[in-house]
Symmetry: C2
Subunit: 199 residues, 2 copies
């Protein structure tokens, strides 16, 4: 099986330090299915004039760039930076839309420790500006995908220290909104956005 980067390029193992590779690849590929579903959906929305929503580029700290003669600049040394916002944002019916997508293999709850402080701060500020902000959560075991308003995630995150590190699935069943999975678009979350935020 060829392992590929998000941009489609095949993964090339670096010979110098191969032992840590498998673990890292698994880590970075978690959420790929939901991510590719959402990217496909956004591109459907874009071409059909339904909305303009993009995934933000991965933030990278560029340290060293080489400018070879007669060819494109090559970044020779760079590091992944922690993003200070959510992954997706854009415009729908004049309103600002902002969300993060996460999937989990857990059956009974959605772990929130893979959100970080910055993202919570960002979501709070978006809500304060009257933006539409939510999380798309997929329980891969049941193949169920929910839209959950950011306010619930923020609340859970703020009690995380003292109480729990996850949101129970029963809570998401009650306060979230199931997104129907289709063929084209695959995750028609705007259908739910219409019901939740525009009616």
């Amino acid at each position: 099986m060829t392992i590929r980067y998000p941009n489609g390029r095949p993964f090339q193992p670096a010979k110098a330090s191969s032992t840590h590779k498998r673990e890292k690849i698994d880590y970075s590929n978690r959420g790929m299915t939901l991510e590719s579903d959402i990217n496909e959906t956004n591109s459907y929305y874009l071409t059909h004039g339904r909305a303009v929503i993009h995934k933000k580029p991965t933030p990278v700290q560029i340290v060293n760039v080489d400018y070879p003669k007669r060819s494109a600049a090559v970044i020779k040394e760079a590091y992944f930076k922690q993003p200070s916002t959510t992954d997706y944002n854009g415009v729908y019916r004049g309103k600002y839309l902002d969300f993060e997508a996460k999937e989990t293999r857990n059956k009974t709850s959605f772990p929130i420790q893979n959100f970080h402080e910055h993202q919570m701060e960002h979501m709070k500020k978006v809500l304060a500006q009257d933006g539409i902000c939510f999380v798309i959560v997929r329980f891969t075991t049941f193949d169920e995908t929910y839209l959950l308003d950011a306010s619930h995630v923020i609340k859970a995150f703020e009690t995380k220290e003292t109480k729990r590190k996850s949101i129970p699935k029963s809570y998401i069943d009650s306060y979230g909104h199931l997104i129907k999975i289709g063929y084209h678009p695959r995750v028609d979350y705007l259908h739910v956005v219409d019901q939740v935020y525009f009616s």
Copy 2:
């Protein structure tokens, strides 16, 4: 003088191919002043709860990543990609805000050839979704900074092939809106946004 990357790291010349370097550096640093003014302004807006507007990370095509033992992943080979959107977006008073910032040393007109097709398409789609979309133009010679609605830039771009490759400054004087330059924030463009889009 130390030349620095946008992230603050000093520029390190690569010995192998030094002849093309000066030209490239000048190119990539065009617009740095306006860019840093806007970044400062956005960070002011963010901390004062006025708006949530971020610069999108530079899109990079990652080709090769090394995972050294016990330290952070190092991107060993990557290339700059052409962005498919504008540089800045976010939320202000519930509305989606989207813009690009450019400065020019020209005295009589604002050249539009450094916009590319993708960005024009993006701006059109944002306007179609009822988003607020504009360009911030600085004439460095006069130290004048204008907000110009995206519709004007799109119109000029579409007649570019046949007629002109720039927007006359007199046109921007008439249809744009002068942004007062201050100390903190430096480029208070939301003041103009209030007048143009919210009144």
